[in-house]
């Protein structure tokens, strides 16, 4: 096992700047003291341990933030998701470090040095700064990274001498313990290890010594693997308010890319994306995008998003974009290379079919594309239903003994009936078949009691009419035998 630790020593500041070195000075304070600032702020003379009041006196337009551990945690989780491209085993080391098990990745990245360079380059591109430690145990890698000692320790026998030379300042311990160590005359980790064990345990506590044992590989050091959460919820604040859709497209596409990376990390797919475009005032514009089968194809999602954007007019400037992706679905294993079996054709037809429905959905809106289902019900208006195309539909039907019309009217239309004889479009009707009495539904308040007839006009139109057996006993048109 070989562990690589990335220690993001500047994370309290970087989590506010979003990884970009902003134009504006930015400084972060904790307990009334400044603990970090960006490059711009340093140029104005801001230093750690200043009070925020003193710092604000130095810069007029600076941003002052109070340290936000929650935000740091989110930034670290994002970095962990990103680090998944270098190793399948990534774990968080709170508050500001990541541990990657890299022994299995060395071959793929052609050795330690290219891997190191790749990681450092990636960290730089993300706008972060980190020190790196490499050691056979995770705790040792972490201590080396905290010390800023970047020379890798690859062999276990060189571990103790290397750790022994580190100052006690790298240990993540309270001030009280540091003072106690200095009182004992310990300046390095090697000095602590040289102390008699029983006495040291009594004076320094069990925790510190056990941590050093883990660092030296004398005690098991299990780490929990980082799993990106099975949801995606990201808000992008736009530095410049977007006035038209073309300005938004790259930002929206960047979010889709990020989503697809985290989907690939979990080997999952998505069926529903919800974009919200936040305006300065008023309700956000919602842009739902849906697919029928779980998908993590960024190109396809972007294409559907584009169709959705085509028909959109912005009601105002957009200041922030929010992407929330619904449940992550497991992706059934697919192999695109093996199409030797005959299933290939069927799958293509199904894929094309999904693509057609997704296209229609994204352009027309989802409430306009339906599947049809029959229900086991005698009332004609309740014997059918529309369903969304992706859903599984159970078809239950009562075998019909009498012909039913292919067209049904949404609402029965009253017919004129001079002298009690029904007419359709001022044409007298011949009753061909009937009556079929439908009298049911008393249990749910929509009870009907009707006599249905099949009727024909002289022009050969066949329609389905009924006479309500209650009230005025009026005639209604309910269907057309088209």
């Amino acid at each position: 096992m070989l562990w690589l630790c990335l220690h993001f020593f500047h994370l309290p500041v970087e989590c506010f700047s979003g990884g970009q070195d902003a134009e504006q000075p930015l400084f972060v304070s904790e307990a009334g003291r400044i603990i970090g600032c960006n490059h711009q702020a340093r140029r104005h003379g801001i230093q750690p341990d200043m009070t925020p009041t003193a710092a604000r006196a130095l810069v007029a337009h600076g941003h002052h933030h109070v340290r936000d551990p929650e935000r740091e945690r989110h930034a670290l989780e994002r970095l962990a998701t990103w680090a998944g491209r270098f190793s399948p085993r990534v774990s968080l080391q709170a508050p500001a470090a990541l541990l990657l098990e890299i022994e299995g990745s060395l071959r793929y990245f052609q050795g330690l040095e290219p891997l190191r360079q790749g990681i450092l380059e990636g960290v730089r591109q993300l706008g972060h700064r980190a020190t790196m430690g490499i050691a056979p145990t995770p705790t040792a890698a972490w201590l080396l990274a905290r010390a800023g000692d970047e020379t890798p320790v690859t062999a276990r026998r060189t571990l103790a001498p290397r750790l022994g030379g580190l100052s006690i300042a790298v240990l993540p311990v309270e001030q009280r313990v540091t003072a106690a160590l200095q009182g004992l005359g310990c300046e390095t980790i090697g000095d602590i290890r040289a102390l008699p064990r029983a006495g040291a345990t009594r004076r320094l506590g069990r925790g510190l010594l056990e941590m050093l044992q883990r660092a030296h590989g004398e005690r098991p050091d299990p780490r929990e693997n980082w799993q990106p959460p099975a949801r995606f919820d990201r808000q992008l604040q736009l530095l410049e308010a977007a006035t038209d859709i073309d300005m938004l497209r790259p930002e929206l596409q960047r979010l889709v890319d990020e989503l697809c990376i985290s989907l690939r990390r979990r080997d999952a797919g998505i069926r529903r994306l919800r974009f919200a475009l936040h305006h300065r005032q008023g309700r956000p514009t919602l842009l739902p995008v849906g697919v029928l089968a779980p998908c993590r194809d960024a190109g396809h999602l972007k294409w559907l998003l584009d169709r959705r954007l085509d028909g959109l007019t912005l009601s105002g400037d957009v200041v922030a974009i929010h992407l929330r992706a619904g449940r992550f679905h497991p992706m059934p294993g697919t192999s695109t290379a093996l199409d030797l079996l005959d299933e290939g054709h069927d799958r293509n037809v199904t894929e094309d079919w999904h693509r057609l429905i997704e296209t229609l959905n994204s352009r027309l809106g989802e409430a306009r594309v339906h599947r049809l289902a029959v229900h086991a019900e005698h009332r004609p208006e309740k014997a059918w239903a529309y369903h969304p195309p992706g859903s599984a539909v159970q078809q239950k039907t009562i075998p019909a003994t009498v012909a039913r019309p292919c067209w049904l009217l949404k609402q029965p239309v009253p017919l004129k009936s001079p002298q009690g004889k029904p007419e359709y479009e001022a044409r007298p009707l011949l009753l061909e078949d009937g009556p079929e009495r439908i009298e049911t539904g008393w249990w749910d308040g929509h009870d009907v009691t009707r006599d249905y007839y099949r009727a024909r006009t002289r022009q050969g139109q066949r329609i389905w009419i009924f006479r309500d057996r209650r009230g005025q006993r009026r005639w209604y048109l309910h269907g057309i035998f088209a």
Partner: protein, 224 residues
């Protein structure tokens, strides 16, 4: 001399209207039998042209315009592809369609908001190659959009059925088959073939009412 003419006529590049040979672009298998023998024998190719547009022009609802195509749709719905109905004028009544033998799990109903969207949806459905048949009730349709639909039907090998009013009969249309449904007197439906690929027959009288199955029927056997 006669031999020379025969040799000339045997060249595959020559399409003869009098022969009931379908053109090379539309091989025999691509025709969909209507299920009514009187109509099938009158139509070149023996049915509705697959991979092309068919216009059905009628003024009144309820004279048998859907019954005319139901047997063909029932057969197509069991062929592994889907059927789309776009902008139908009424609710397609599921129990009746199921009773006619249509596999409802292969049916898609689309209600677009307006006429341009309807035409766009018809074109998408025809072009996708996943719909065996696309039935549409467009409110407005000009020559140019019909041409687009015809090309889409060809490229997606899909049977496009457009139901339009009889006023369209005087307009130009690139559809492969145009039928006018006359007022049916009693049991019979008068069908006039306005245009087809091949020799037109005059008028067909069809008894769509009593030959269509009423009860749920077994799926029709597939050809080929």
């Amino acid at each position: 001399m006669e031999q020379a003419i025969d040799q000339l006529l045997e060249q595959p590049g020559i399409w003869r209207a009098s022969a009931r040979h379908p053109s090379p672009a539309h091989p025999a298998g691509s025709h969909v039998p209507s299920g009514f023998s009187a109509l099938d024998s009158a139509l070149p190719g023996g049915g509705f042209p697959g991979g092309a547009l068919t216009e059905i022009l009628h003024d009144e609802h309820g004279i048998g315009e859907l019954r005319l195509v139901m047997p063909a749709l029932a057969r197509l719905s069991r062929g592994g592809r889907w059927i789309a109905m776009i902008a139908p004028p009424f609710v397609p009544y599921a129990p009746a369609l199921a009773a006619q033998g249509i596999d409802l799990s292969r049916l898609l109903i689309i209600h677009p908001a307006d006429s341009p969207q309807a035409l766009w949806s018809v074109e998408q459905a025809l072009r996708s190659g996943t719909c065996a048949a696309v039935l549409a009730w467009p409110s407005r349709c000009d020559d140019r959009s019909l041409r687009r639909l015809q090309l889409a039907a060809e490229s997606g090998n899909s049977m496009g059925l457009l139901f339009r009013s009889q006023t369209a009969a005087s307009e130009r249309s690139p559809a492969a088959l145009r039928l006018t449904l006359g007022e049916s007197s009693g049991q019979r439906l008068d069908i006039r073939i306005l245009k087809c690929r091949g020799i037109p027959t005059d008028t067909i009288e069809l008894d769509t009412w009593s030959t269509t199955p009423v009860r749920a029927q077994q799926p029709l056997p597939l050809e080929g």
